[in-house]
C-alpha cells in the first residue's frame, strides 16, 4: 500500500535531483562538467552502506525475536544493496578515468566499497547454499551481524593501509567544499535513492513473503485459487 507513495516520491526526487544536477548546478572549477556523475555516484555509495546496515538489523531482529517477516526483508534487501554497491563502483571507475587517468585506483574508499561487495556476495552465496529456508535465514542473519561488526574494522584498516601506501591519491581525492547549489541537488538525489530503495524493498519483500507462503492455505484463499 505504501509502495506507490515511495515509488512516486523516488521518481520525482530522482528526476528533479538528476535534472538539477545535470543542467542547473554550476560546473566544478577543477573538474568542469565531469564532476556531474557525482549525482549518481554519491547516492549509490551512501545507499550501499545504508542498505547493509538495514539488512543486518533486519536479520538481527529476525534472529533474536524469530520474526519471519524480518528475515524476508533481509533476504529481499541483499540484492538491492549489492546492486547499489556495484553501481557505486562502476560510476566511481567511470569518474576515475577522466579525472585520474585510470579506471581503477587502489584508493581507500574504492577498496572498502569492493570489500563491501564481497560481503554482499558472501551473504547471498551462503543463503543460496542452504536448502532449508529456516536454517538459511538464521545462518545468513548471523553472517550479516558478523559482517556488520567487521565493517568499521575493514574500513579503518583500509584507510590506514592507504594513507601509508600512496598518500598522493588522497590529495588528488581532496574535493573542495561543495557549493550550496550543487549540494541541494545531491541531497534531492540521495533522498530519491532512499525512497527508491524503500519502494523496491517493499515490492521484493512482498514477493519473498508470497514465495515463502506458496503452499499456505491463507495465501491461496487470498488469491482466490484454493
Amino acid at each position: 500500500m505504501l509502495t506507490p507513495w515511495f515509488g512516486w516520491a523516488a521518481a520525482i526526487l530522482i528526476t528533479a535531483g538528476t535534472l538539477g544536477g545535470l543542467y542547473l548546478a554550476p560546473p566544478d572549477y577543477q573538474q568542469g562538467e565531469g564532476f556531474r556523475i557525482i549525482y549518481v555516484h554519491v547516492p549509490s555509495a551512501s545507499m550501499s552502506m545504508f542498505v547493509y546496515v538495514n539488512m543486518a538489523l533486519a536479520a538481527a531482529a529476525g534472529l533474536i525475536w524469530r520474526i519471519k517477516l524480518a528475515h524476508a526483508v533481509a533476504a529481499a534487501a541483499a540484492p538491492i544493496g549489492a546492486s547499489f554497491t556495484f553501481l557505486a563502483l562502476a560510476t566511481g571507475s567511470i569518474w576515475a578515468k577522466p579525472m585520474w587517468g585510470t579506471w581503477w585506483v587502489w584508493d581507500a574508499r574504492l577498496t572498502s566499497e569492493l570489500v563491501l561487495l564481497f560481503l554482499y556476495f558472501g551473504y547471498m552465496a551462503l543463503r543460496a547454499a542452504i536448502d532449508d529456508e529456516n536454517r538459511a535465514d538464521r545462518a545468513s542473519a548471523l553472517l550479516a551481524i558478523i559482517g556488520l561488526i567487521n565493517i568499521p574494522i575493514i574500513k579503518y584498516s583500509v584507510e590506514w593501509w592507504n594513507t601509508l601506501h600512496q598518500p598522493a591519491t588522497i590529495s588528488k581525492m581532496g574535493k573542495p567544499a561543495m557549493d550550496g547549489d550543487m549540494l541541494t541537488w545531491l541531497l534531492l538525489n540521495i533522498f530519491g535513492f532512499m525512497c527508491f530503495f524503500i519502494a523496491v524493498l517493499l515490492i521484493r519483500a512482498r514477493a519473498e513473503v508470497i514465495r515463502r507462503a506458496r503452499d499456505q492455505k491463507w495465501l491461496k484463499q487470498a488469491l482466490g485459487v484454493a
Binding site: 536454517r135 545462518a139 575493514i154 584498516s157 583500509v158 593501509w161
Partner: protein, 227 residues
Amino acid sequence: MEVPGLGQAFALQVGRDMRLAFRHLGQLANPLMFFIMVTTLFPLALNPSPQLLEAIAPGVVWVAALLASLLASESLFRQDVDDGTMEQLALSPQPLALMLLAKTAAHWLMTGLPLVLVSPIVAYGLFLPQEAVPVTMGALALATPILSLIGGMMAALTVGLRRGGGLLSLLILPIAMPVLIFGARATDLAMTGLESVGAIYLLAALLLLAMSLSPFAMAAAMRISLD
C-alpha cells in the same frame, strides 16, 4: 558423575583434539606444506632476483599464511559433526562457546603455530632482511589465531553443507582482510627499519576482539548448523 570445571573441560578438550590430530599427522601437515609450496611458486613464476623477491616478500608470506589457514579451517569441525561428537558437546553441561574455543585453540596449536615456526625459513628463502624476521614471527603469532577464530566461525556456519569449500573462502576472505593489512604492514615497516609496533598493537587488539566475541558467534552458528 562429577562435572569438570570450565578450565578442566577446556584443557580436556584441547588434549583430546591434539591427540586425535597427532594420530593423523599427514592431514596435519597439509596446510604447512601448502604454505611452503606457495611461497616456492613465486620465485619460479617471477624471477629469482633477490631485489624483486625482497620487495614482494612481505606480501607473499602473508598471503600464503592467509591461504594456508583458510585451507586448514575447512576441516576444523567437519569430522566431529560427521561422527556425532559435536551433538554431544552441544548437549553437554559445558558452554558450547568454551568447547568450540578449545577446539579452535587446539586447531591453532596444530596448524597455526607450525606456520609461525617455519616462517623464518620461508622468509630467508625470499631474502626478507634479517631484522624483519622477529617482527614477522611475532605478527604471525598474533595473526594466525585470529585467522583460526574467523575460520572457526565460518566453518561452523557452513559445516552442514555439501559444497562448503568455495563458499568458505568467500565468507572468510573479506573478514580476514584487516589481518592481512596489519600483518603485511608490520613486516613492511620492519623491513624499512621503521617502528612497526603500531601494527603489532592493532593485531593484538584484533586478537582480543576475536577471542572475546567469536566463541559466541561460533556457538550460535554451530547450533544453527546442527538442527
